[in-house]
């Protein structure tokens, strides 16, 4: 995967948090992982990607980050249902942002939200993914990109 591709998602992360009440977000150095040991936290919002690039983009986050993020976008109800909703919405927004560069052929699904590790259906175990570490308000989350040419 090209550095430019990762930069698109890094820009998308910065853009997302720029629209919250606490815009400062730290992006760590991206790294590669085998999909048989995928990165995951409490909740994971997964977007399936089809078209010239196939695979998925997911945002995985601890509950505590999601609770604070809900408050930071003005949502006072921080219950489970809204945390699930938010983790999917973040994944959707980051993937939608990528279409600015990749165009309409970067086709994205509605979010699927799970607890913990994505299944092999979403994340083929033979492949590898890029992990972009995200730190916001001292809480760590990750954006994970697993794309391959069709």
């Amino acid at each position: 995967m090209l550095e430019d591709t990762l930069q698109v998602f890094i820009d998308g992360i910065k853009n997302y948090f720029a629209h919250t009440n606490e815009p400062e977000v730290k992006i760590g150095t991206p790294y590669l992982v085998d999909n048989n040991a995928p990165e995951s936290a409490d909740y994971t919002g997964i977007i399936g990607v089809s078209g010239p690039n196939k695979g998925c983009v997911y945002f995985t986050s601890p509950k505590i980050l999601l609770k604070h993020l809900l408050l930071s976008i003005g949502e006072s109800e921080t219950h489970e249902e809204n945390m699930v909703d938010l983790v999917g919405e973040v994944a959707n927004t980051l993937s939608g942002y990528a279409r600015r560069t990749f165009g309409k052929s970067f086709m994205i699904s509605v979010p699927v939200v799970i607890e913990g590790v994505p299944s092999a259906i979403h994340l083929p175990r033979k492949l590898r993914s890029y992990v972009i570490p995200v730190t916001w308000k001292s809480y760590n989350a990750s954006v994970v990109i697993c794309l391959q040419p069709d």
């Binding site: 853009n15 997302y16 629209h19 919250t20 809900l70 976008i73 003005g74 949502e75 109800e77 249902e81 809204n82 909703d85 938010l86 999917g88 919405e89 959707n92 927004t93 993937s95 939608g96 942002y97 990528a98 279409r99 600015r100 990749f102 165009g103 309409k104 970067f106 994205i108 699904s109 509605v110």
Partner: protein
Amino acid sequence: MKSYNLMIVDDSNIIRNKIKRAYDKEKFSVVCTATNGEEAIEMFKSHPVDVVTMDLTMPKMEGIACIENLIAINPDVLILVVSALSDKATGIEALEKGATGFLLKPFTEDQLQDALNELTDDIYA
């Protein structure tokens, strides 16, 4: 000031809530909400709706198809697309199908309010 009946269409509860917090309460009142395109069409038929905020990526029926259906029912309805899909082609397609404006996610409450006001002010431009 003219007042408008608003329908919010988005599969995300937190986005629907955000839109409810943001709109100008003197100018708009929410008459119904929907979580997908199919539900939106049913709501649209049974409620007096002037303005719609429309997500594009939704289950069951996506936003573009829903816009076409709503315009077929009432060509005068004002539709503000509120979507994360940031490519130009999608924006142009939505406008060609009958949408009146486009607001990218993520958005601030001020940006939403401005977009809704621009949409309705344009009628008298």
